[in-house]
């Protein structure tokens, strides 16, 4: 027997990244724009999805892939009640969705008939950041009651996003939230990232987000 050092130099999540590439090609072939929506639990992912569906329903066919750590269908049921198809992916306790789960989700939904697929990732600010899904854009929802220090504590998720939705701005009068401090943290991590302050409670702020989305959809 002899000992030998074998060079490998392979990214640990290489297999996931490659499957994500396949998911991307599949969406592209169907002409469907894909969003990976990430946030902490309760930040308002489902609320933003429902508002978006309500406002785009006339012009856009939207499907939703709901990731949950438990076999509950609460979020998917809400989407279906709003008149759009949804599939529930149970991660079996896993803290994030990965490209395999999205590939399965795409098998259960009529991708070809959709203009937009929104993936509601598992509520978590750490793990989803590491796993590419194959969607076209990463959107993070932060919400006012979570506090203004989140960019400083969870830098990785802020670094990888294209759009930041700042939800629950109706609560600004009641919660201590230093907007400049928050924005500075975001700017360090992700210079020039699009930020849309909104409220799902009042509907305030949704037009700029929807304009951005429409512009993306018309390109796809």
């Amino acid at each position: 027997m002899n000992t030998l050092r074998v060079p490998v130099v392979e990214k640990i999540l290489n297999a996931n990244d490659q499957l994500a590439e396949q998911n991307r090609r599949r969406l592209d072939q169907a002409g469907t724009f894909g969003i990976n929506l990430m946030a902490s639990p309760g930040a308002g992912k489902t609320s933003v999805i429902l508002q978006t569906i309500r406002r785009l329903a006339g012009s856009t066919r939207i499907g939703v892939i709901e990731g949950d750590t438990a076999p509950v269908t609460i979020d998917a049921d809400r989407v279906i009640s709003a008149g759009m198809p949804a599939v529930q992916i149970n991660t079996g306790g896993d803290c994030h969705l990965d490209a395999v789960m999205i590939a399965n989700g795409l098998n259960q939904i009529a991708v070809d008939q959709l203009d937009l697929i929104i993936v509601e990732n598992v509520g978590n600010l750490i793990c989803p950041a590491a796993f590419q899904l194959g969607t076209h854009t990463n959107v993070l929802i932060a919400s006012i009651p979570e506090g203004d220090d989140k960019p400083y504590k969870y830098p990785n998720i802020y670094r990888g996003i294209d759009v930041l939705i700042l939800n629950k701005i109706d609560l600004l009068p009641y919660v201590r939230f230093d907007m400049d401090y928050f924005r500075k943290g975001v700017e360090i991590l992700n210079p020039g990232v699009k930020v849309f302050p909104v409220s799902c409670a009042s509907g305030e702020g949704f037009d700029p987000w929807l304009d951005w989305l429409r512009a993306k959809l018309s390109k796809e």
Binding site: T3, V8, E10, L13, I126, C127
Partner: protein, 120 residues
Amino acid sequence: MHELAVTESILQIASEHASKAGAKKVTDVYLVLGRLSSIVDDSVQFYWDALSEGTICQGAQLHFERIPAKMACLDCGTSFELPGELILCPKCQGGHVKVITGDEFRVDSIEILQESGENL
């Protein structure tokens, strides 16, 4: 944390490269992880011991090389290391910074035992 998924990937990568190299056994796996990847070494080691059982990697030692998170200030040129959480440039307090190292996340190499003579 996603250490389980990460460990599964490490095992898959190490096993694949080991079989390709005609290994009898993998003795060591060398990982390079930047400080910005939020992975806990002890958890990976724990899952590794369980997952590698009965595979070519059983009993292999994991080695973690941690690369510090180094930032450079684009305004004043100062380089500095992140203490864990995000900080502004310690010299000019600016927020215009760039990541230099700390994103590494790879299996760098493995050490294997080979039958003598198979080594070409």
